[in-house]
């Protein structure tokens, strides 16, 4: 790539951010700070939330729920993904139904989670995990099913054991697919946790959003949104770096089925 072009792209990317800020500021000045505070004021409120602490404990709650939810999503997702990917019977029986379930608005099932788990943190963890495990599982079994069959033949002709075949042939072959699933799984876990908090809870960033909404406190809503978005971006920067290490340049992977 020529130097000139890469410079053009970089400055274009910066221009996008600037344009976003300008539009935000413009809209803010049109609607007034009661409804849409500008970027500077949102940032001030954010810092205030961290300094005076009205946001901190809720942020911890959300982080805790997301981390636990994600751990479960990864564990269960990998288990389900490898099981279905390894067995034509399980794949035939459950691929279609699970893809269909993935497409369903999972919020509708949240009352079930509230009934099955306690109202507090556990129901959010479970709900977040329920969101996040789908991409992990789907990308895992898809990667396994699209493995090059000749690689398995090589393993068999060298008489590798099951464990060795998995370690040195299956795992490296499916890893690039799985890391994408891991990233999307995180995103959905976060989404699920925030949704759960918004619907019914007494703590967490989602709870803050709803209570500031009820109090018509636009600048605090924005501050919470900013923190959530920055959290998502930071986590994705990490996961994308991991993806890049595993498979070179990450692509856009949105098609699932």
């Amino acid at each position: 790539m020529s130097r000139n072009l890469s410079w053009k792209i970089r400055s274009g990317q910066i221009a996008v951010v600037c344009a976003f800020m300008v539009i935000w500021q413009f809209l803010a000045s049109r609607t007034g700070p009661m409804f849409l505070p500008g970027p500077a004021s949102a940032l001030r409120t954010l810092l205030d939330g961290l300094q005076r602490g009205w946001m901190v404990s809720h942020l911890w709650t959300t982080l805790l729920e997301v981390l636990w939810g994600y751990a479960w999503a990864v564990g269960v997702g990998l288990f389900v993904g490898f099981s279905i990917g390894a067995s034509p019977l399980l794949f035939g029986a459950f691929e279609g139904p699970l893809l269909n379930l993935y497409a369903v608005p999972k919020v509708t099932l949240f009352p079930l989670f509230l009934a099955a788990f306690k109202l507090g943190i556990p129901s959010k963890i479970a709900f977040g995990a329920f969101h996040g495990l789908f991409p992990v599982a789907i990308y895992t079994w898809t990667a396994m099913r699209t493995m090059n069959p000749v690689h398995l033949k090589v393993a068999r002709s060298l008489r590798l054991g099951r464990l060795e075949t998995f370690r040195s042939v299956v795992f490296p072959a499916v890893l690039p697919g799985i890391v994408v699933g891991l990233r999307l799984g995180f995103n959905l876990t976060l989404l699920g946790v925030v949704l759960g908090e918004m619907f019914a809870s007494r703590a967490g960033m989602g709870f803050l959003l709803m209570s500031f909404g009820a109090a018509f406190d636009a600048s605090r809503i924005l501050a919470v949104i900013l923190v959530l978005f920055m959290l998502a971006l930071a986590a994705n920067a990490l996961l994308l770096a991991f993806e890049r290490r595993v498979k070179g340049i990450p692509e856009l992977h949105l098609r699932v089925s």
Binding site: K153, V154, R156, S157, L158, S168, P172
Partner: protein
């Protein structure tokens, strides 16, 4: 006693997609002596790859059996190495790592792995590409990596499924010469599938000609030329005569 004995082998594929069954091989019998170089020629889709994979123990026959080194084949064996028709290099491993793959699996000490692998890489002419990944190699180079990965294990029996398929005519001849040299050096038995009649006649002691699907043996011919042979693009008069005869027979199968 022959080193490979193929006895009345038949194979019918029954796809579980509901498609009709495919009869790939019908009553195939032949044997190969230790140290022999045998080529198999036949029209596309006649069951050559199937035959090789059954001998390698990767597939089970519908009827008949294969006996290798006096024991019936029930699964893959360490004495048998196979080079697949399609690209089988691992894209996540470099050339060197690919070649070391089988050695590692067998628990060969790392230092020995390194020397053996480098030797074979030299042999197939890939020196300088040790640290390249398959996607940075051409199709023919990748096929040579796969050959090296099998050769490095020094199998007594070498099954090769169109190993030069992705190569140009010149490289085929050069590598054919190399293969003959390696064959004599490690004293292996080679069963070699190709669709190139002249190549089969140049390399092999015997050529097995197969019919179209379901594959049966149509004819087996001896190539009388003395060893060691020096490969040239133009065949000798005797070879040309044999080629013409085989071509006549093959043509009936292709049309």
């Amino acid at each position: 006693m022959p080193i490979i004995e193929v006895r009345s082998l038949s194979k019918v594929y029954r796809p579980n997609t509901g498609a009709p069954p495919v009869e790939a091989l019908r009553d195939v019998s032949f044997s190969v002596e230790a140290g022999e170089f045998v080529a198999i020629v036949g029209p596309s889709g006649c069951g050559k790859s199937t035959l090789l994979e059954i001998i390698a123990g990767l597939q089970s026959p519908t009827a008949g059996e294969v006996v290798v080194l006096g024991k019936p084949v029930q699964g893959p064996r360490t004495e048998v190495g196979i080079v697949f028709q399609e690209d089988s290099t691992f894209p996540w491993l470099s050339t060197l790592e690919n070649v070391k793959f089988g050695l590692k699996a067998r628990g060969v000490p790392p230092a020995v792995q390194e020397t053996l692998a480098k030797e074979v890489i030299q042999l197939v002419g890939l020196q300088g590409f040790e640290h390249h990944y398959p996607r940075e190699l051409s199709g023919g180079m990748r096929q040579r990596v796969a050959i090296a990965r099998t050769l490095v294990l020094r199998p007594q029996i070498l099954l090769m499924d169109e190993p030069f398929g992705a190569l140009d005519a010149q490289t085929r001849i050069v590598l054919g010469n190399e293969l003959l040299r390696i064959w004599q050096e490690i004293q292996a038995t080679i069963l070699f599938v190709t669709h190139d009649l002249l190549e089969a006649l140049r390399l092999a002691d015997r050529v097995i000609l197969m019919t179209r699907r379901p594959g049966q043996i149509k004819r087996i011919v001896e190539t009388a030329a003395p060893r060691p042979r020096e490969q040239t693009p133009v065949a000798s008069a005797k070879t040309a005569e044999l080629a013409n005869m085989l071509w006549e027979e093959l043509r009936q199968e292709v049309v």
